[in-house]
Point group: C2
Chain length 524, copies 2
């Protein structure tokens, strides 16, 4: 039996566009069975769009428009079904004269998922028969049900087809393959894991769909982070899959997230504050892979504390990337602002306020340029600074999208080195100099923070792994440091609440995945 895997990239809510793309794949590929992702005509996660009954009905009707193109073939595709005032996250099993449904049994309601807010769970899973093959259809979370393999181990299933909208995170693909192997060891089917691809606000779907054959080996794999349609057969030759390096997969996730935010929101131009530091360098590089270079505007906004090194490096990078470079001196503007506030501030010492003013006038200038020239600002915030609040709200945090929002600083360095291995485009000095916000004389990030190696490790233990202060200290970190970092993390929630979206990369991303009260007196 020939299967056609349609690894599509839906545009949220754009039923017609999503339909057309899949229809085209069906017409141009001859197969017995076509497989498309979970909620393939809507996109994932649709959130409260699911409360729009007219929208759901339109989507439901669209599925029957596939029928004229199916003749004696079968299409298995994810969609929403409205039935007796309940909605189900379903697989639509479509032939030219019939549409059946298999509802999702397990509704994820953790992490970035809120499916119990919308969907009712299905109450029976049926094995279907097609061309004398027995097929089991699973929808995303169903695949993670612990009782699954036990339930189906003696059922002689020929194909286990799993349709997904599974968001990327570091190492997630291995976790999926390992789970698939565990299931298939018992079920001994041809297991098709079909994933969505594309960026949607806070998440990126990484595709990388695969076929696990009856010998439990990956015999075929689709692109990471790219649309693809591929014909496979049970007899497809086994192929050893080289996994992507972490650096490469995270970079690709950031690029695809940025590209799709720009494309799906029909954005024309992007503006980036290029400081001569590593974060904005990486964001500019990501932009250069996400949108035409002539639409990228990098703005160096000098103050009196900006070093010559920063200006030179920013200029050099912009030149290598072949993007527009604008060099603006904001010193006198900053002086004007300080002058305007002089009377109010006369009895107060210089403090963080003056640093924030510099960050905020930069935000203002960037936003003005983006407003005037029909574009958006890409924020350069990263996970480490967002964790401890080492960033200025309405300053360096401005932006419609934050490509590296969930990337820890140490990984930003590694990715930059990875880029330079092949592309040698980020000036070495940007990577090697001590990181600094350059908001006061001789400032470096480590004046007020531990080393990024230590900081990122503590953040990972506390946020991603949910360990307590005591547990982290018992691993050998200094108690005082851990307590300070944990307090900074909990006290910075008010900033994160007002930050732009960006792609989930780590096991627990701030925002959609980690929902925390701002007002909170529990400090661990």
């Amino acid at each position: 039996m020939k299967a056609c895997l349609i690894q599509s990239n839906p545009v949220m809510g754009d039923i017609q566009t999503n339909f057309n793309w899949i229809k085209k794949q069906i017409i141009s590929n001859d197969a017995d069975i076509y497989v498309a992702p979970e909620l393939a005509l809507i996109g994932y996660p649709p959130d409260d769009l699911l409360f729009d009954k007219e929208f759901i009905k339109k989507q439901e009707l669209a599925f029957s428009d596939f029928q004229p193109f199916l003749k004696n073939k079968l299409l298995i595709i994810g969609g929403v079904l409205l039935k007796k005032k309940k909605i189900f996250n379903s697989a639509f099993i479509i032939s030219h004269n019939n549409i059946k449904h298999q509802h999702k049994q397990c509704l994820p309601n953790y992490g970035v998922f809120d499916e119990k807010r919308y969907f009712s769970a299905g109450d029976n899973q049926k094995i279907i028969s097609y061309k004398s093959k027995k097929i089991l259809i699973l929808i995303c979370e169903d695949f993670w049900d612990k009782d699954l393999e036990k339930k189906y181990q003696d059922k002689k299933i020929d194909f286990c087809i799993v349709i997904n909208a599974s968001p990327f995170e570091i190492n997630k693909l291995n976790v999926r393959i390992n789970r698939a192997k565990k299931i298939n060891k018992k079920i001994k089917s041809n297991l098709i894991y079909l994933n969505m691809v594309g960026g949607q606000d806070d998440v990126v779907f990484d595709g990388a769909s695969f076929l696990l054959n009856k010998n439990n080996n990956v015999s075929c794999q689709l692109n990471h982070f790219k649309c693809q349609t591929k014909l496979i057969e049970e007899s497809s030759p086994e192929k050893i899959i080289k996994p992507l390096l972490i650096e490469e997969s995270v970079l690709n996730a950031c690029i695809l997230g940025t590209k799709d935010y720009i494309k799906k929101n029909k954005i024309k131009n992007v503006f980036i504050g290029l400081s001569g530091g590593i974060d904005s360098a990486l964001v500019a590089y990501i932009a250069s892979k996400a949108i035409n270079k002539k639409n990228i505007n990098c703005i160096m906004m000098r103050s009196q504390y900006t070093s010559k090194m920063s200006i030179d490096d920013a200029k050099k990078l912009a030149k290598s990337l072949k993007v527009n470079f604008i060099d603006r001196n904001l010193s006198s503007l900053i002086n004007q602002i300080n002058l305007n506030l002089k009377d109010d501030f006369k009895n107060f010492p210089t403090d963080i306020t003056e640093e924030n003013i510099q960050a905020r006038i930069r935000g203002l200038i960037l936003m003005a340029m983006a407003n005037k020239k029909n574009g958006i600002v890409l924020s350069t915030s990263n996970k480490s600074e967002s964790a401890v609040g080492y960033s200025t709200l309405y300053g360096d945090m401005v932006g419609a999208y934050a490509p590296i929002k969930d990337v820890p600083k140490t990984l930003i360095y590694k990715i930059s080195e990875f880029i330079n291995l092949t592309d040698n485009i980020i000036p070495e000095r940007i990577i090697n100099r001590p990181p600094s916000a350059e908001l006061k004389p001789d400032q470096t990030d480590q004046d007020s923070l531990p080393s990024y190696e230590e900081l990122d490790k503590i953040i990972e233990l506390f946020i991603d792994e949910g360990q307590s202060t005591d547990e982290i200290v018992s691993l050998g970190f200094k108690s005082q440091t851990v307590k300070k970092i944990v307090k900074l993390i909990l006290r910075s929630e008010f900033k994160r609440r007002q930050s732009p979206p960006g792609p989930k990369i780590t096991r627990k991303a701030f925002g959609r995945e980690r929902r925390f009260p701002i007002t909170n007196n529990y400090l661990g």
Copy 2:
């Protein structure tokens, strides 16, 4: 039997403080049974704080510290119970030598609620016996279970005790009382509805706990929007409750939300941009009821488009409110910014960019003052402008808290008139002049928007009531207007995502209650 209703205002996560306050009420009131709210030692909604096992354990242990004060009395209080790796939202039923639990059966997972993300549902509801009385204990959503009255109508229940963390919205108290009457018509108990009070980021709990007697009349009611402890008896005389006017209840909700955000986050000073318009006037009034007047700083930030009327009215209001007033002229600063951008903008016509620059330099100045003087900015955004994006991100939207975030403009006018009935403090001209952002010559809000009466009605139908464009048009609104407004609403999600928290007031508040994708091509 004497019951003591403890309508408490917990501080999120502050187990010790919350414990102490309730303990004090127990010690100073002699009763047979004490009743405190849902999650009374934690606060509501704790969100992902609930994943902190140590925190949950600390909270669980604290309940036993009530026992020495209970002798032959009973305390019924809401808390989280960790049992076999599951957590339950429970009523702790505490006597001096025993603690029993009744788990919540119905877990709300809609609107502002996400309880299925955290809790497991209880599987049996028991009637308990105390001093030969039969008592049924319900936790918040259990009270709304449609099958409830049928299940308990023949059980001869003496007391039905409902412990709640039920957020305020317009007219919610009536809905609660009506539901209570419907239940009690069948159950014929003494029904105690005990609610939490206080503000927590996006919601406000309005208290207003009540006793419905066996004749199904409200015989006792506690304060709206205030902590209170009250002794009641079955024989308490019936009392006719005068409901609050909508204007009064919404105003109180905004005041309590603001007060608690300030107090619970230990904030010293607040800064408000006073424009001479109605929104900032109301926010300044709310602040004056929420924090000591000497800690309130109102800043008039003039540009060349600011009318004398605005300056005079702002000054007059600040004087009446007896708050600090700072008058700053930002014209030359705005000119400096425009000058700095002149080369970049030379081939572009003047547009919204120049208006945004004015709004953003105001945001910058306000934030600088708040940073320097250890305070926060209160945002003056309202629901109408937030709906259609008629506000500047990082400009007039800046702030840590937005007291009138969910109040429609037409209601802002009504509340201001209501205030003037007793307090005559908002200059009449602020209420009567046509609203204007004063960002270009002779501008009024109605240059680009329909009348606020029409706008608010369309927003209410589309957002709060979930009606479609067609349904709204069929009610007599112009198709072109409805389509324009709906498109503006869906296109402004990116701004709302970066807005500060503020109290839910309407049936469907943006943010926590209405979760919508930013990237979305479905426009109704």
